[in-house]
């Protein structure tokens, strides 16, 4: 089978202005920093990003203003101005997003976290949408663009649900703790988060690997993402 392992710069041809990218990680825990750095370096513009939280913003010393840490995860694409639309569940830990919303530089769509995970799963599973009780009675959600309609379902006591859209992107960028040469991915602890469902929900999947191993070295019962979903593997750089 063709070799899936590529150099980090080899992802450049996959990137285009205006494309949509799903980025795994939860407050940047589990984000593919090496690959995201390449997206920044590529300079592609007008990106739509799907990410739980828009990553972390830069940290500065409150008194001296000195930079302690740069932005992380999807936060790098916020800081660079490349992300112009963000689908997320929480942006409170990256204040730059709120600022850019206010200036009109960015559009942000907030979705309840469970609905967001399920909508991505639906997009990757060929389902037409999700039917959730979450958000019923919440005007902002009921009127959101990601909601198809409100519906009553059930036999006896009809309950009200929202039908929400499946989500799908051009590219998914995730990071695994161990990745074998077939592309099978094993995540460590809470780094799994959105990466697992995102691997199903885009045309192309790039997986950054903390460690690359031979086929068969990961327990087949403990593979979180089957290799058939992963198109390219990039070794993490520390």
């Amino acid at each position: 089978m063709k070799n899936k392992i590529i150099e980090k710069t080899d992802i450049r041809p996959l990137l285009k202005d205006g494309m949509s990218i799903m980025i795994g990680g939860f407050l940047s825990v589990g984000s593919a920093e090496t690959v995201i750095d390449q997206v920044v370096a590529s300079g592609v513009k007008n990106l739509t990003i799907y990410c739980n939280d828009g990553g972390l913003g830069e940290k500065r010393n409150k008194e001296t203003g000195e930079l302690i840490a740069g932005p992380k995860g999807a936060g790098k694409l916020i800081a660079s101005g490349q992300c112009t639309t963000l689908y997320a569940t929480h942006i409170g830990l990256n204040p730059l997003i709120g600022k850019k919303m206010n200036t009109g530089e960015m559009k942000v769509v907030l979705i309840p976290q469970g609905s967001f995970a399920e909508m991505i799963r639906a997009g990757g599973s060929g389902l037409g949408g999700i039917i959730t009780p979450t958000g019923v009675g919440v005007d902002i959600i009921e009127q959101a663009e990601h909601v198809y309609k409100k519906i009553k379902l059930g036999d006896k006591k009809k309950k009200t649900y929202l039908i929400e859209k499946p989500l799908h992107a051009d590219l998914t960028i995730i990071k695994g703790a161990v990745v074998d040469k077939l592309g099978n991915v094993y995540f460590n602890k809470t780094t799994q988060n959105f990466s697992r469902v995102m691997a199903y929900a885009s045309d192309v999947v790039v997986c950054e690997a903390q460690k690359i191993v031979e086929r068969g070295e990961i327990d087949g019962n403990a593979i979180h993402v089957p290799g058939v979903l992963v198109d390219y593997i990039v070794k993490e750089e520390k």
Partner: protein, 222 residues
């Protein structure tokens, strides 16, 4: 344990919420005050904590063993009990939305006597996003709002929420430093009262009319 006058409101609240929990319960604690509840679980029982970013078996971080791959829903380093399990966000919310979580404990900006909750949009401030809160309150078997009774004297427990809702008809209990309220079809029942307050004081601090049991509320103990 009796409530003393010196006890901080947050400690009263966290200790009282902890009393709800039984051995084997599966619980999600929101960020902030609710997190404090974990401190007060009696050592003879075991409660399993969920973290919506993808684990069962959350515990406090050991500062000598910080693992960058092991964080709580606030992105902060945490610990894991032996037997902790890790999973993805869809599975995490299958547990939450599917009614498998016994208690979710979270703060509120406003609650009303229909069980409605508003806790995600602070007026005039940037909207940080609802995170997992909307799913948590819709899905958990029992929803406990843990918060200080008033916001600098302003009512937070109301006849009708004024802020945008997080969810409708979801709150089961409200635990404050003044009392424990139980949501019923008829409205909020004053189940327990901090002995340092009178029923009149609690009612004055509340924007909804409380239902006082015939024999009066029980004394709130910790």
């Amino acid at each position: 344990m009796e409530i003393t006058k010196e006890m901080a409101p947050k400690e009263i609240i966290a200790r009282r919420v902890a009393k709800f929990l039984k051995d084997g319960d599966f619980v999600n604690l929101g960020i902030g005050l609710p997190t404090e509840v974990a401190k007060y679980i009696p050592s003879k029982i075991e409660v399993l904590f969920q973290s919506e970013n993808g684990m069962v078996g959350l515990t406090g971080v050991d500062p000598n063993h910080i693992d960058p791959d092991l964080t709580n829903a606030g992105g902060q380093p945490c610990g894991a009990i032996p037997g902790a399990s890790f999973f993805d966000s869809a599975t995490s919310f299958a547990l939450i939305r599917g009614g498998h979580v016994d208690y979710t404990v979270l703060g509120a900006l406003e609650v009303d006597d229909h069980g409605n909750l508003a806790n995600w949009i602070v007026p005039g401030k940037m909207v940080p996003g609802m995170g997992g809160a909307m799913d948590l309150v819709v899905g958990a078997k029992t929803v406990i709002v843990a918060m200080q009774h008033t916001q600098k004297g302003a009512h937070k427990i109301l006849k009708e929420c004024t802020l945008p809702y997080t969810a409708l008809h979801v709150v089961d209990y409200i635990v404050t430093e003044e009392c424990v309220l139980k949501q019923t079809r008829s409205g909020l029942v004053l189940m327990e009262i901090n002995p340092n307050y009178t029923v009149q004081q609690v009612q004055a601090d509340t924007g909804a009319t409380l239902i006082v049991p015939k024999n009066g509320p029980m004394t709130m103990k910790l």
